[in-house]
Amino acid sequence: MSAASDPERQIDIEVPLLARVEGEGALEFTARGGHVEKLRLRIFEPPRLFEKFLEGQDHPEVPNIAARVCGVCPIAYQMTSIRAMEKVFGLVEDPWVHAMRRVIYFGEWLQSHTLHINLFAAPDFLGFTDALQMAARFPDEVRRGMLLQGLGNDLLKLLGGRSVHPIGLRVGGFHRAPPRHEVADLVDRLEAARDLVRGFAEWAIRLPCPEDDQDFVEVAIVHPEEYGINEGLLATSTGQMIDFEDYPRRFQEHQVAHSTAYYSMMDGSRYFLGPLARMNLNFLRLPEEVRSFAHDMGLVFPSRNRFRNLAARALECYLAVVESLQILKQYQLPVRPWQPVHVRAGIGHHCTEAPRGMIYHRFELDGQGRVMHATMIPPTSQNQACLEHDLHVSVERFGLAHTDDELRQLCEQVIRNYDPCLSCSTHFLRLDIHREHDVQE
């Protein structure tokens, strides 16, 4: 065994700045005498204060401000705040609005998931250093992913007006109902994309997937009639069903010294969010076409292998195309694309499923519909405790008898598998390795 992979050596991998990520964080990994001493994802993104910015704002202003929280998943922030405020106003969602909200959410999922699979995760699974290198070998596959990504953008534009920080959403529904010809254009493109997305999903699912079953508790939205996204209850893999209103009672945040992002715990324990959690808890709610495809591909859900997150993302891309198509084929212009609201004071809670996991908002409004207090809890911070535990387990199973590069690569793959907002990147770690061998007698 070479000294470079001696498991007894002192390993001190410090990544002071996770470069090329949305957000700022670092990986700290120290092992000594064959034991991991420290392995953590240190997030030092400065507080962004959006909850404070929202205080005093009139409710119609909230969606446009909320969109700025995240450039990658603005719909999740807009939609969750809108639904929380609609609950304050006692508004029951209209079926047309409900359907269109699913379509715009599918646009965000499709755009985000294809980007992640295509450019950030797949190179890990295939052993390429980055997407450019992978594209040289798999140009058709990468091109296909990009076409789907563009389709996701166009779904966002249809209802959001634009794909960057969309402006089409409002409390009560949408500012504008797309005219029939715009919808018809997209129906044609979705029809054409059906085979494309199936091929894309097949390719993603067939990527070499490490076997890494683990025991974990997962949380996702479930709904009796549809794949949980915007409405329903929070379900756990332990069989609990939780009303959105009970979120503050069941989920607690706390600070840790090494992260400016809060850690979230459910009843004091870590939990797992994201596509795999959704797929595990919603598989039977998939359209028959997607479910059959999953069976044909040999996929079994629930899965305890967290690297199946990639397969779950791929299936959700398929779902996004199939269900958007189904909804838009039956498109009817509404009398009005939004429902009037009757402003009143109160507190509203809501959760929706951002591409990378469940997001929770709480809004307290005064009698004029102005925000008194806002709470927005993103999926990344909810996943952080789980991610760090996953890092520990994965490194222990992999073993320390590997080079620093191999260990770093493993850690990157584990982190990217969560598609966290702070590290949705391919090979984002700038390494500063200090190697010092312990003298072992």
Binding site: A19, G71, L115, A131, L132, V142, M146, G150, N153, V164
Partner: protein, 160 residues
């Protein structure tokens, strides 16, 4: 008559964010969008280079409008040949504009079909002057009005 949905129309895509000089790409697109007679092209904004490649793949010709750090202060035309394979600094998602353009070329986008119109600034917090936005729009309109896609000729830096 040309349809605005015509896939043959050039794509003008402004990349950036709302902050400092980085907003230049968005400002130029907004300026073009607000013209009394909007130009015959597709206008897009983009907030992440990782999203750029899919737009370039769908376009026959494209002009990317962006801000870049440099010693000078003014506008510059660049061609794909002028940009390095990577600047190594990336962006959100680990992919910078250079990487995104090179990825697009690798996937079949013709090098000559892409132009970059950059605002070179020494300071990322540089305020974007109206003169730069108007001049950028003028140059873009001149470029897309040509029957053929002219070779890039660096017009030198334009001081505000």
């Amino acid at each position: 008559m040309m349809s605005r949905n015509d896939p043959g129309l050039p794509l003008i895509i402004g990349i950036g964010s709302a902050r400092g000089a980085d907003r230049f790409g968005w400002d130029v697109i907004e300026f073009l969008h607000d013209q009394k007679n909007p130009p015959p092209c597709h206008l897009e904004i983009c907030n992440s280079p990782a999203l750029l490649s899919s737009s370039l793949l769908a376009a026959k010709r494209a002009i990317i409008v962006d801000a870049m750090l440099g010693p000078g202060c003014g506008l510059r035309w660049l061609s794909v040949q002028d940009i390095p394979a990577t600047l190594g600094i990336g962006s959100v998602h680990g992919m910078g504009v250079c990487e995104a353009i090179n990825l697009s070329v690798q996937l079949g986008v013709a090098k000559d079909s892409v132009r970059l119109l950059c605002l070179e600034v020494p300071d990322p917090d540089q305020k974007v002057c109206t003169e730069w936005i108007e001049e950028a729009a003028r140059r873009i309109l001149a470029m897309i009005s040509c029957a053929c896609w002219r070779p890039v000729q660096d017009g030198g830096l334009l001081s505000p």
